[in-house]
Amino acid sequence: MSVYQHPYKDVDFVIRHLLEFDAFCQDKGLDEVNADFANVVLSEAAKFAAKNLVEQNQQGDIHPAKLVDGKVVETPGFGEAYRNFVEQGWPSLSAAEEFGGQGLPNLLSVAANEIWQSANMAFALCPMLGQSAIAALENHGSEQLKAQYLEKLISGQWTGTMNLTESAAGTDLAAIKTRAVADEGHYKIFGQKIFITWGDHQMAENIVHLVLARLPDAPAGVKGISLFVVPKYLLDESGNPGIENDVRCLSLEHKMGIHGSPTCVMSYGDNEGAIGYLVGEPHCGLRYMFSMMNHARQGVGVQGLGISERAFQGALEYAAQRVQGSDKSGNSIRIIQFGDVRRMLLMMKSGTEAIRALCYFTGFEDDKKAAATSEQQPAIAAKVAFLTPIVKGWSTELAQELVSLAMQVYGGAGYIEEAGVAQHVRDARILPIYEGTTGIQALDLTLRKTLFDKAAQATLFIEDVQRTVDELDSLDGAGDLQSALSSALDDARAALVWLAKNPQQADSIAANNLQLWGYLLGGWLMAKSSIAAQQQLDQGAGDSEYLNAKKVTCQFYSEHFLVRTKACIASIEAGSDAIMSLSEQQFFSHVN
């Protein structure tokens, strides 16, 4: 059984000192919401997770959801956990008060999501997708659809799904074939969707599917896709789930990980057609989907954070107890005393803390945007748009390395399922794939978010990081950290220069560009953390043991992660010559 305790001190440090949440709350006149209140909410969330989700995580792995008589039956215990989750009001945390939500800042939602994802990633996917469905309806649904569906989705009484992918339409949604036909005030939907997370289950009274489909008169390609609400049970006159819609789960995928999360092949309209309702205007479905993409992709970044933290805690506990070998005087040694094990633990600690800083920083920008004037909003939106592929792509790729290191700390025992870390390694592997692969994130950052605006947003971040480099002047003993950050910043500048000169090669260097920015911004926030920690120490405030550990962790990050920007820039500057020069036959030339 792998352990999990809420890392409340680091979370509090990030919220209170790195992001200065209290100043924001005061400025915006938020009603008694502040870092102290965040602590209250998160400690209760952590208690809930400890009781309902942490141990159930392994159950999900061992007893995956099953398809029984055409219905998906979830992992034993998940239904009860979900109903408790709803009863305690957790799904409604940051949703609009107008529809029964609690209206708390997105930052708190990110911090609570970290807890759910650490505790039980397969389970937490269900409410996570619900949040996307809520956002879709809230932003684009008609008043009637909102009135019918929002409140119950927000309370969690009903769950939501996102139906995009088809067997021939994955990354390329232009290839969608599912049809929608107008029929007496609604639409009839016909088609098959795959990879539908939590597409069916018995945990909630109803499931609200958001489905991308084409109308008969739709233009070809991405501009001809519309978005529909298709409930599992049609609503009766009083708005309650009534007769079953023509929707069913055909089969469940057999996956490498997240076994507790049913991944469904969904069939719409096998018989008379599944009844659906248009969201917003016809042919605008993909645009609506993209408006939620930032949020969903940041959510996957938080999954990378959650699983890294969980795996780290298990490895740490193991390393502190496992006895191997003895010192010169014959005393037995626990493996945490070995230099290489300490290196691995610090890789996990510093990597996870950098991911946390980046995820929370980005999530908080959403709150700043919501509180900003309409003139200020586009600038913040551009900032978030730049950060999102980094949060998604970099965090989830780094998570692979961190969970793998966790297994390495366990040695052979880690490769045995009972240790629990194997599940984290398998579960984590989906993260760089779904909601847009790392390749897609890298292209998004390099083309859409950098080349298209002529590096305007990238340049703003470079200025931000430069300011922190300058600030490090006044921090005693931070010379190495300062030169590492400054040198990584030079690499980012060099990447922008190279990219401007070689835009046609963007595709080949995008992945390295994404990693470079990830390590840089992670290093930037770690440097800011180091400064904030020292300020606390200078004031004699806070927990000096934690704060000094933070400073060492930041230093370690700069020595082991920040330096990776050098490898990234070297590969970027090598360009696409080797990448594009092999013919397809040559790829096979070693076997043909």
Partner: protein, 249 residues
């Protein structure tokens, strides 16, 4: 009926307790603090009495440093109606606490006072009993069941030989045992509501109680570290060692 519940801020039960190097006490600096688990049971019982329509108001009281407000807020989020903090930086012994609580009871006139039977930090198990003596109220300690019947209360007590049920005349003081109930979690909407619930701060001076030191803490020492075991050759050797080395038989 008004129910008064006491809540103590203690070291979180998950924390690995460290003794200060000078043996002057447990190191509480920067460790996670929480509501004493027996107090959680007391709060839960009061809320259940309110939900059952027996209690009309639940007032939670804590005594100690300013940060005790955190535990009071938790109790409010669980469903208590209002909170009182008797704020002091001084160390409070059980008798000090009982005297301060007696003053609060005088002001509040509750029909029932529920306390945890003991706190997991000092394990004294005294305050409830002292409070009963000071107020003259009937006491039902180590309660595993509390039943209110008009102006009487039936309290089932966990005693060495089993369960003892006693009938008390209201108002009463009850102290909770582990099996009284299973405390709930605070729900998010209730955490939100708790922000607006009243929390009053008083001082020992305002209550006219001077805090006296009746006991002196001499030293706190951690339990000795476990040593590795040995193998014995036969039963005779085992008995010999139990007699002469371990001195347990």
């Amino acid at each position: 009926m008004k129910v008064l519940v006491t809540v103590k801020r203690v070291i979180d039960y998950n924390v690995k307790v460290r003794v200060k190097s000078d043996n002057s006490g447990v190191d509480l600096s920067n460790v996670k603090m929480a509501m004493n688990p027996f107090c959680e049971i007391a709060v839960e019982e009061a809320i259940r009495l309110k939900e059952a329509g027996i209690a009309t108001e639940v007032v939670v009281v804590s005594l100690g440093v300013k940060a005790c407000q955190e535990q009071l807020r938790t109790a409010l989020a669980l469903g208590a109606d209002r909170a009182i903090l008797v704020e002091t930086e001084q160390e409070l012994e059980s008798l000090n606490v009982a005297k301060l609580l007696a003053k609060i009871i005088e002001e509040e006139q509750p029909g029932m006072v529920i306390l945890g039977k003991q706190a997991i930090d000092t394990d004294n198990n005294q305050t409830g009993q002292m409070l009963a003596a000071l107020t003259g109220m009937a006491q039902g300690t180590f309660a595993s069941k509390i039943e209110v019947q008009g102006d009487k209360a039936l309290v089932t007590r966990e005693v060495d030989g089993g369960l003892q049920t006693i009938e008390l005349s209201m108002p009463i003081i009850a102290t909770t045992d582990l099996r009284l109930n299973e405390p709930r979690y605070a729900s998010l909407p209730n955490i939100m509501k708790a922000k607006r619930k009243p929390l009053v701060v008083k001082t020992p001076e305002e209550l006219g109680v001077s805090i006296k030191e009746h006991t002196k803490l001499i030293a706190v020492t951690p339990p000795p570290e476990r040593k590795g075991g040995i193998k014995v050759a036969n039963v005779a050797e085992l008995v010999e060692k139990l007699k002469n080395e371990a001195k347990v038989i």
